[in-house]
Amino acid sequence: MNLQSVKTIYLAEMARSLRTVLQSIVSPVVSTSLYFVVFGAAIGSRISEVDGVSYGAFIVPGLIMLMLLTQSVATASFGIFFPRFSGSIYEILSAPISYFEIVLGYVGAAATKSLILGLIVLATARLFVPFTIQYPLVMLLFLVLTAITFSLLGFIIGIWADGFEKLQLVPLLIITPLTFLGGTFYSIDMLPPFWQAVTLLNPVVYLVSGFRWSFYGMGDVSIWASLGMIALFLGVSLAVVNWIFKSGYRLKP
């Protein structure tokens, strides 16, 4: 294991985030506040409680997930796309490091960043509504696993994309809709039975549900289904990344 190399990539990526530290922090704080004003105050005043939790508190886990998914994908995809775009990828590919170490550096940095943002959103939300976290360790586990998994997904997108449009496409067309339809702002019990069944095909439902379980001890699906889903996701992402490096896809002719 070439720790020095991993550290170098990791720190360079973190430094890149730090250069834009203000945007990095301000934007999630502002958007979280907006969600609270719109959903929590405006709509929440009509919906008093969901599953025995105030609506404001109910949406907190979903909001954090939303931030976590979008930030992980955005940071990791840009992180690896940029050297491909600028041409400096030659250096990474000719360095004495394994594929695993490359992934560790890039994905580790992206996951760290989105984890920190997730915690900032959590703290911001706490300013708006009171809530308690029943299973903090499970919550952290979910945060970490989701950050890693979706950073891996971002890494894959960053390698697949051959232009800035494609880089934006997946988050825009897939991640954001799936998150919004994934029970972020509602309990799927509120849907008619047919749509409930359809929603269960959305993997994000399991993430949001499991994450919410760690807060309030209840979710749309069982915690084991949620853990199983995130494990499956992680496994698939790892397999794809492994295939990318083995085959040289988009990296090595």
Partner: protein
């Protein structure tokens, strides 16, 4: 230092960029790889550095297979790519330090400073790359390649876009490196660069290595020599008595040019010069002056590439 054994590369789509290349680079030499655009120079370097997977054959760097033992092999190599990269927002110091760390070496600011000074980039160390000129950016790439103290340095057209004065400075940097024991492989389109610097020269054409030779031997062997004879009285045609020699008239008949090859004997024995001189005397021509000229590497190169076309 580097052994390339039977390396071929066929790109997806079926283009054969390298065909069965065998090449040995000796420790401590400067090896110049020449060839026209699209010949496969960059592809060959990319295969050695692990950026392109070979379709066949293998590469050993100091005995380490560059696939099976890629860590050992790559640690030794520094690569300066042909294309400029475009990491606009990092500073010179940061990007060069990054390169060192990436190759697994612990921080060593003193070494980075030496490299930057040698490449006259020290003044610019805190500038972001977007604030540098093209020639400076190229030198930054060289600094990055040297940051981890490689034993082998690949320079893919290092002096493209670098002004004449700086080019000479860079040649000196390269020679200094060689004197420190670094093996250097460079590609260039400036033949004078190869002529000036290389110990050995390889010529690659359409994916085939058509020639590998010591520079001096190459210039000697392939060097066409010209003997120019300046005449007292101008001629309108080559006199019949001299028709058996390969002569051409030049300078409005004021000179006769004789082309010969020092390695390939001409008519009779040797270079044919003595026979020519005898015939000149018989023809009654007065020679005022004479000089000889050896063709430059550039002429050799052009004729070689054309000859095989």
């Amino acid at each position: 230092m580097i052994r390339v054994e039977g390396v071929s590369k066929t790109f997806r789509g079926g283009f054969e960029a390298l065909r069965n290349i065998d090449l040995t680079i000796r420790r401590g030499e400067i090896f110049a790889l020449l060839g026209p655009n699209g010949a496969g120079k960059t592809t060959l370097i990319s295969v050695i550095c692990g950026l392109v997977n070979a379709s066949a054959g293998r590469v050993l760097v100091d005995g380490h297979d560059n696939v099976a033992a890629y860590r050992r092999a790559r640690e030794m190599i520094g690569l300066v790519p042909q294309e400029l990269t475009n990491e606009a927002f990092t500073t010179v110091w940061d990007t060069v330090s990054f390169s060192r760390g990436l190759f697994g070496k612990p921080k060593n600011p003193a070494h980075i400073e030496r490299v930057l000074r040698a490449l006259t980039l020290w003044e610019k160390r805190n500038n972001r790359l977007l604030e540098l000129s093209g020639g400076m950016k190229r030198r930054v790439l060289i600094a990055k390649a040297l940051a981890h103290e490689p034993q082998v340095l690949f320079l893919d057209e290092p002096t493209a876009g670098v002004d004449v004065e700086l080019r000479r400075e860079m040649w000196n940097v390269v020679r200094d490196l060689r004197d420190q024991g670094v093996t250097i492989i460079l590609t260039t389109h400036y033949i004078e660069e190869a002529e000036e610097m290389a110990d050995r020269i390889g010529v690659i054409r359409r994916g085939e290595l058509v020639l590998v030779e010591e520079k001096h031997a190459l210039m000697h062997q392939l060097g066409r020599k010209e003997l120019t004879l300046h005449l007292d009285t101008p001629l309108s045609a080559v006199p019949p008595g001299l028709a058996s020699h390969e002569l051409t008239l030049a300078e409005d008949g004021h000179a006769l040019v004789y082309t010969y090859d020092t390695s390939r004997p001409g008519k009779g024995e040797g270079t044919g010069i003595s026979a020519l001189l005898t015939d000149l005397e018989a023809a009654g021509l007065q020679v005022k002056d004479l000089h000889t000229r050896q063709s430059s590497l550039e002429e050799i190169f052009v004729s070689l590439v054309r000859e095989n076309a």
